[in-house]
Structures are given as C-alpha cells and as structure tokens.
C-alpha cells in the first residue's frame, strides 16, 4: 500500500478539520503522513504475540493530544481500559475519520452510528453497510498506473459532491508540486449525487510526497510521556533515555533519505540510527540553527509499519531534543 502518503495529503488538504484513527496496523499506511493521528489495530487477535508486544510499547507524542484527546495514548486495540477511554473521548469528536482494511470492529459501532467517516481499503460495493446513517461513496485510486490501490471513502451522501470537489482541487495542487502532468495522471467525476471517483496515479515510478514530522507528534516508546514545553518547541525531549523507537507507519517500499534533526548533542557522542531494528550507515552535519542533522539512506519495507530507532552512547549528555524527522527522496 504505497499510496497512503498521497491519500493522506489529499484528505488533509480537502478536510483540514478531520481527525484520523488509522486502524491499519501492522501497516498503518496513512499514519506517517498525518501528524497527530491516532492509530490502532482493527483485529488484534490476528496479530502475532511478538508484534503485539512491540506495538504495545508505543505512546502518542506530546502534541498528539493537542486536538483535545488524551495525551500519551497507547495504540488502540491492545488495552481494553485505554480503548474505552479513547472511545469515550472520540464520541464527542465532530469530524472523525476511521481508516481500515476490512470490517470495522464492533467496538467502533457507536462512532459509526454517530456519523464518523470511513475510509476502507478495497472495494466496498456488495459489502454490508457500516452501522449508522446512510453513506455515499467516493472511490479513490492512488498508487501508480501499473499498480493501482483502491480505497473507498464513505461519507454522508450530501457531502459527496463538495468533498469530491475539494479532493480534486487538492489532487491537482499536489500533482503540480510533485512533477506536474508528466509525472501524474489526475482525473475523476461525480457519477451521481452520492457517488464519485477520483484517481491520482503516478506515471512510471512510484512517487510520494516528502515527509517532515515535528518530533512532538511522533509515536514513541520513551519510558515516561515527555511534555512538549517551550524549550522543546515542537520537539520530543529524550530526557535521560539512551534509546528510543519511533513508529512511522507504512512507508513506500523504496530508497529514501531518513533525516533526524536533534538539539543538545555532543559532537563527540553522536547517536546511531536504526531502521526496523537494523543499524544504518549514518552521517551527520551541524546546521545553521545550532542543531544537528543525522541522516542515512534507508530502504523501507512494504506491508509493515516502519520503525526508526535512535541510540545514544552511554557517555552522551542527557536532555537531547528530537526536533523533527524527515523522509525524502
């Protein structure tokens, strides 16, 4: 599912007030491109115990709760008590999007009955409708001409036309930023009042928007939930931790540069960078703002959420701040 980045960018541009709960783990294809998004597992019983233990480590970054939800939330689906707390909060959320691959779990029925939008991977025609009010559908086609991914956005019928228009505008804008008509084929139409389709497909090689995430929005496994204070800005304070894992979500399976910008490092005690548990060959440079950029070429794996690791030597000073994470071609 390499089109998650494009899809997330279109939806955020068209529906900026929307809050996302990406239930696509262990892949979570939209999560990385949607800062502040919640994430979870639609069917935790199918998860291998070791993968469940891994995902159970993560908490939402300090700015994840900026929209009013609980801070430091764990991944949905792994802790019944925390799930109940999150659902209680989300019930009052005005504009909520649930993204998943498969049937919505029964626990989400009340959210769907309350009118949450649903983004499902694959075709939805012929499937039982989700609980709640009648919904229209916008078929979204992303990926490449050679490998098309289909997603269906289920939303109130009277919202189909205006949302389609905004998504189409967003697609043309994004395509213009990423190579224009030579790189993208964009098209769509409003079929009926309650049905539309929109495609944004890369011509030739797969393409994805660049990604730059503030440290404070990242899902992490630091032992205590760090606050994002004035001194940390948008950063994630590492405190005394010597190593931290960051959950990115599903990334396009291709070569890219992974860059982390940090403050508070010693030039003689540089950290090491890891992707999916394996060490990367890193280089570093100081930037003009007094921070340090650690970067490495990395190849993401398809079909599973990518995890970035950062390990500081034992002698490195405490109190480093992870300012941002960047994923760029």
């Amino acid at each position: 599912m390499s089109g998650g980045g494009v899809l997330a960018c279109l939806l955020r541009e068209a529906l900026p007030a929307l809050r996302l709960l990406d239930l696509g783990l262990p892949a979570a294809p939209l999560l990385g491109w949607w800062p502040g998004a919640l994430c979870g597992i639609a069917d935790p019983a199918r998860l291998a115990p070791a993968e469940a233990a891994l995902l159970g480590r993560f908490r939402q970054g300090a700015h994840g709760g900026a929209w009013g939800g609980p801070q430091g939330m764990p991944i949905f689906g792994l802790d019944p008590a925390a799930d109940a707390a999150l659902l209680a909060t989300l019930e009052s959320e005005a504009a909520l999007l649930l993204a998943l691959d498969g049937v919505p779990p029964p626990a989400l029925a009340r959210l769907l009955e309350a009118g949450a939008l649903l983004l499902r991977h694959g075709r939805t025609e012929g499937l039982p409708p989700p609980p709640g009010p009648e919904r229209g559908r916008i078929m979204l086609l992303v990926g490449t001409l050679a490998r098309i991914e289909r997603w269906d956005l289920l939303l109130p019928p009277d919202a189909v036309a205006p949302v389609f228009t905004r998504l189409q505008d967003a697609a043309h804008g994004l395509a213009a930023q990423l190579g224009g008509g030579r790189a993208w084929q964009v098209g769509g139409r409003l079929v009926t009042g309650g049905l539309a389709s929109l495609g944004m497909l890369a011509i030739g090689a797969e393409r994805a928007p660049s990604l730059r995430l503030p440290g404070a929005t990242l899902w992490h496994d630091l032992p205590a939930a760090p606050a994002a204070g004035i001194e940390a800005g948008e950063g994630l304070r590492l405190g005394a931790a010597r190593q931290v894992r960051l959950l990115l979500g599903g990334m396009p399976a291709r070569q890219a540069w992974l860059r982390l910008r940090l403050r508070g490092l010693s030039p003689t005690r540089m950290p090491a960078l890891f992707l999916d548990g394996l060490r990367l060959q890193t280089q570093w440079r100081a930037d003009d703002e007094g921070s340090v950029v650690i970067e490495a070429p990395a190849r993401m794996q398809a079909g599973q959420a990518s995890l970035v690791g950062l390990a500081l030597p034992a002698e490195a000073p405490a109190g480093a701040v992870l300012l941002s994470l960047e994923f760029a071609a």
């Binding site: 070791a50 233990a53 891994l54 019944p80 008590a81 707390a85 894992r245 548990g277 060490r279």
Partner: protein
Amino acid sequence: MTVWTPLPPERNGIADYAHGLLGGLDGHYDCRAACDDWLARAPEGVALVDPALAHRGAGPRVLHQIGNNPGHGFVLRGLRRMPGVTTLHDPGLLYLYETTGEPAAAIDAGMAAALPGLAAVYGRHRREEGLQSRANHLLFDLAGEVLARSRAVVVHSRFARNRLRLAHGPAATAHVAVIPHFMPPGQMPSRGAARARLGLEQGEFLVLTAGFATAAKRFDWLIAALDMALAHGARLRWIHAGAERAEEYALGAAIAERPAVAAIARVTGYCEETVLDDHIAAADVLVNLRFPSSGESSGSLARAFAAGTCCIVSETGAYAELPRDAVLQLPLTGTPRILGETLRALAAAPDRAAGIGALGRRFALAEMALPAVAARYREVIEESLDRPVAGTALPDPPPLLVLEAGAGLRPAQVAAMLAGRQGRCRLLLAMPDLPGLAALTLDRPALLRGLLPASADLLAMRVQRTPRPGLLLDLQLGWPA
C-alpha cells in the same frame, strides 16, 4: 539464525562467550544477534538487531544465551516469544527472575516446581518477611520455564545436566545436551610479552584470580592459604584481575586484615578482554575455587587453558569433571592448608606449574576447540527444529474489577473483592472524581500498602481519568497468606 545474547562491552563472561561463539557459528549460519544494547560489539559480519523487532524476518533457528543476572532479562522475554535452543550458563536463574520484575507468583511456582517441600517454607519467608538468603539461590534453580520453552538446552557440564535432571525429572530434561566451554579462538599473548606490558618481573611467581569477586569464589580460603605460604617463606605475588563487589564480598577489607598478604596483593578492577588475557598469560597459576557450586563454568579457566597456565580448582561441580592431569583439583575440606602448601611448592618449582599448564592446554585443544564446539551446536540446533515447546501465546487481558472507593475505604473491602482469585487482575479503585482521589491519597499516606493483602503483588498503577476516574491497579495474586 537469531542469537539472543548480551555482547561486549557488557561486563559479563557470557557476553564474551557469545561474541566468540558467534564467530564460530558464522561458518554454519547467517547469524544476527538480538541484543538490548544496540551499540554493542558483534563479530564482523554479524548484524545486531533490536530485540523488540527480532521476530520480523526471523527464521526457525534461534539460540538464546541465558545466565543468572539481570543482563539476561531480555533474553528470557525473547525465549517466550521466539523459542529455540537455550544455552543455560547457570542453572540457578532465581536471581535473574528476582531482578527483572518477574511476578512473585511465577517465582513461587518455579521454586515449588523444583523443591516443593522447601519452597513452601522459603517462599513464605520471602513473601511475608522479605527474607532472602544465599541458600535460596543454591536450593532453587527456576530453570523449569527455560526447560519447557526451549527446543533444546545446552549446558557446559554433566554436573549441570544431572542437577537439572534431579530437580525437574528425566522427561523435562531429555533435551539437555552437554557442550563444553570453548577456548577463546584468538592467539593468547606470550608470557614474556604479557609480563612486559604489565610491568611484572619475568622471574616472580604470579598467582592470579579473575572475574567478579564473589563469596562463592572462596577468597577467604585463598587469602588464608597465601598467608600460610608466605609465613613459610614462599616468594610470590597475587593479582586479582577483576572487580570487587563489596556488597557481595569485601575483598579489599579481607586482604587488609592480613598484612603479609596485603603486601603482595593487588586488585585491578574490571579488565577489558585484552588486559585480562595479558594477566592470564603472565600468570604462573590461576586459582579458581568454588564453593558452593551450582554447576557454573568459567571463561577465565578456558583462557588459562589456551595460555597454558596452570589451573587450580575446587573438586566440585563442573570442575570435578576436568581430567586430573590437566588441572590441580583441591578437596573441599582443608582447602586453605592444602592450597597454601601447593602454592609454596609450585613457587619453589615453577617448572612444575608450567608442566601442568601444558597438559591443560593439550586437553583443551582436543576437547574445547571452537570449531568442534560450533559443530556440536549445529548438531543440537538442527536436531531440535521439530521439537515442540510449551505454548507461548500471550494470555488474555487480565480481568477488571471495580471497587467503589471513598474516604472510608477499608482493607477488608479490598480483601473481599480479591477473595478466591489467583493470577493477574486489574482493580479499579473508582472515585467520584480525581480531586477525591487526590484527597484520599493525601489523607492516607502509604494507602496501598495498607489496603492490599499480602498475597497481592502490585505490578503497576496509574491514575485513570476516563471512562471512570480512579486508581487502576495491575495486580498479581498469589495464594492466600
């Protein structure tokens, strides 16, 4: 193959062992090492992998290196998720369980599995009085879980295998194989070069001990023996190449009590591998006493064999299995006197020590060479691939109990709520609001200590805002006190 293990620079012998073994196994398998220190040193060509992600892309071949200290907690947790062959360097494991946050009920059950009668008494002392003695660590091995969850278990001596068999029975230990400790693969330094680097005179007789100074290594016997030998005119020097753990055994203080010994003794502190090798190669005698022994093996002994240094050991445990012409074995009774006489005699005739060292090296070359050990590991790993292990599925979420708490919350209410339950559960002390909870905890210091029965272990707690405000306790319940 994924090898779960600590690695250097972690300061324990198993990390050094695993580093060497990985080098030997590299000829048989494409190895990667799962180590919780992401910056640890693995042999060239062996990738380090974060243990939390080791399950991704893992094949069926898995090897775990487990010893009895908290540095192996991540290996024990890895074994539960990725069963494979386990090298049990110390069958004890009680200290590992105690220091890595394992539930008290699991420790109680492990103790009971090994020695049911004694576990009832010692377990009650531990639970109710917080009483733990050295006897606990000698009597109770807690290897049951490792035996059940491993496809095969490797130990380094017949003593260790027999001990496991006696405690856990033949059926549970049918898959235990003995593979001897290996000699370090590299070339040991020459005696002369090592002495020159350490600033030692070529002619002086050097007695060496190595590793962490623990009570079981019987420094009390050695110090008495040295004092005796010096009193009878022996000319020698003693170096302890290792760190002192005063809380375990106050080595420096014990040396200071004997001025004659203090005059010829030096404690180096922890030694890196190359410095340790220099000390072992420079020594005339390596003294490696042990009592009591739980079957542990010794990395410094293997290094001494490789260097051709004469070894003096206690005739117990795994050491008793060494050939009598390869080492000097001392009985456990009257050790200080016999050791004193032995050291005096060898100091007077250093060639005799060198001769014993040469025989020890010949034995080790035949029985402890790394390629032979690695080939034996391969046999055990391949033969074990289809062997089933105990279930590893994660348990269901523990049940949630809700107790309406208020200012008058009493222990009896909690006890009634928990009555008849065992194992994990969560207890929500539900309050009308969080200020009420704050007031309750301020008014009653040590609230939980007073509320929870002795049979309940508090694993974790957190303040919960929604869906109901209160204090959420994660508990492990044992049997009624």
